[in-house]
Symmetry: C2
Subunit: 342 residues, 2 copies
């Protein structure tokens, strides 16, 4: 077997480029140069790398990027994360700051999740505040600007206007989507997994997609987004496989016992194993933060599309023996989404 197969190795640069032009046009008509504060609180190499990368992308686009180092990042003798909450509060209160970006992980899942709520939703370019997740899970795409002010989750989905295209109706603004899941959707749009001939909000209909990872930052919001857009999604984590879908699931089951077509996704345990899910999947997205984890090429459906979203390579070297298209990294698109959210 060849170390490299016949599928296309597709770099995300071209996708990022389409957004770069759009963002440049927006910036040229902005009243002033927007400012992002990046908060780096650990000496972890990936966080350092990512902050350098953000700065480079901001510089290239003419966005002001100020890196605020705190804790271990400022002084090796300090603990990771020391001062990070204070740095966030300062940036929340600083009227010259438009966007805040915090380089996680810092403390661990729970305490990091707390910090994500402390960032003002008005400056949360990463889309990590629970209100944005709430909207995403409820397929609420647009909201009134003042809905952001309330501590309660925003309007119930019945109050939200239906989305007929990307543009919010008068009096509404878009709800921010978390950067990484949004970048993945934009990649899938670009490479044709989303079909523009289908109605808006259902453009992934007919596609089966496996998402390996169910974190609140990447996997679960992504599965919900894709299912809200009509796809059948297998959401895989270490403990379980779930199916996210808007459509009735069981052929052969009497109509009365079927789940109805939903305005947003429903979740239920999948009958399939990972091997069975992969055999059905047109697209496989993997975001497992582990050097060891590899999706078995042998299990992939011939001609599928594979996206690696992890810092490590989650696919085997011969993935293109099966995959028609392989995107090894989407980091540049993620940064563009962040600047777009800004």
């Amino acid at each position: 077997m060849l170390a490299e197969g016949n599928g296309v190795l597709f770099k995300a640069d071209a996708i990022a480029e389409t957004f770069r032009a759009e963002i440049k046009a927006e910036l040229s008509s902005a009243p002033r140069v927007p400012k992002i504060v990046g908060i780096l609180a650990t000496s972890a190499a990936p966080s350092k790398f990512y902050s350098d990368f953000t700065k480079k992308q901001c510089d290239a686009l003419g966005v002001e990027f100020v890196l605020k180092k705190t804790g271990q990042a400022a002084d090796e003798s300090l603990a990771p994360g020391e001062g990070v909450e204070e740095a966030i509060i300062e940036a929340n209160e600083d009227e010259t700051v438009d966007g805040i970006m915090v380089y996680y992980p810092i403390f661990g899942l729970q305490q990091d999740h707390y910090l994500q709520q402390i960032v003002s939703p008005f400056k949360d370019v990463e889309g990590l505040h629970f209100k944005f997740h709430y909207n995403l899970y409820h397929n609420i795409r647009f909201l009134k600007p003042n809905a952001l002010v309330s501590a309660l989750p925003t309007a119930s989905s019945s109050d939200a206007p239906p989305a007929v295209n990307d543009e919010p109706p008068a009096g509404y603004v878009k709800s921010i989507l978390p950067c990484t899941p949004l970048a993945i959707v934009k990649c899938l749009e670009y490479i044709g997994v989303y079909n523009k001939l289908l109605p808006y909000g259902d453009r992934a209909y007919g596609k089966t997609i496996t998402v390996i990872n169910r974190s609140e930052v990447v996997g679960r919001p992504l599965a919900a987004l894709l299912a809200n857009d009509g796809a059948r999604v297998f959401s895989v984590d270490i403990d379980s496989i779930q199916e996210y879908t808007k459509r009735p699931r069981q052929p052969g089951v009497p109509e009365s016992a079927q789940r109805k077509y939903h305005p947003r996704h429903v979740v239920h345990p999948a009958a399939q194993s990972l091997q069975e899910a992969l055999a059905l999947s047109d697209v496989v997205v993997s975001a497992v933060p582990s050097k060891e984890y590899k999706v078995k090429t042998a299990w992939l459906k011939d001609g599928c599309v594979c996206l690696n979203v992890a810092a490590d390579k989650n696919f085997e070297a011969d993935v293109r023996e099966k995959a028609s298209l392989y995107l090894p990294t989407i980091g540049k698109v993620t940064i563009m989404m962040l600047l777009r959210n800004l």
Copy 2:
């Protein structure tokens, strides 16, 4: 060595009793019977047990308790947690509901944390909304009622009135404290670890306390509360030991290099190992969700006070060989705090 030592085995019933009387008095002057909705979404035995226990306590006090079963708890063929978010939203919107209690764990740390933000802060009797944690970590004890409405963390600590006693100044209300940490503090007050002769807000001064667990639900808020009240706290988790304190830490370090006395706690890595921390500790609180985990009796300081907050016993059978006082469980006090928050 005896299987049971000489220390006192202290049951928390008497502590719960003092609050029961206070709550009864409050209820008798309430305009109507308050209503709590308990949401049970899994078939896990501890959650079932805890929901029965809540109901019993509510019945005894004349509080209306309605158990809403969803997901696996309603139907074994459903997934754990199915419908739980919808049940929370329904209770948020139901004006006859005063308090909401959700029986965790359901999905896992991240998704459960998301659910905790979905519960309206006006009905969050458990005190799990990030706004309450923010106030606690910032030692903000009182807030204006309308501060709860905002999605932003409330006033910075400089805006909050200083707490001179338990009563909020005019125009302010108490910030809800998470139930379990608050119950632990109330136990420590009752058994004399807190000293009422000391000024309010510094009544644990002089006490060294080890807290084993650093979750966002129990360990970290507890360590912060105790340190805000003047104690020196060792916060222990599987990866690290931290010290929480309001006071300068290093005797012998020049004044200029010392951390100053803070209005709220600061956190830094502890120089001590667990064994060294325990040797210094007047109080040991353990909340490790594991049958296997045991605090070594041999490491305890003679005459210390031990509180077990876990469902499993985290102390060895001979803990009273060293401990002067051992509280094996505080569940009844926790429930009283919940009703008090209501």
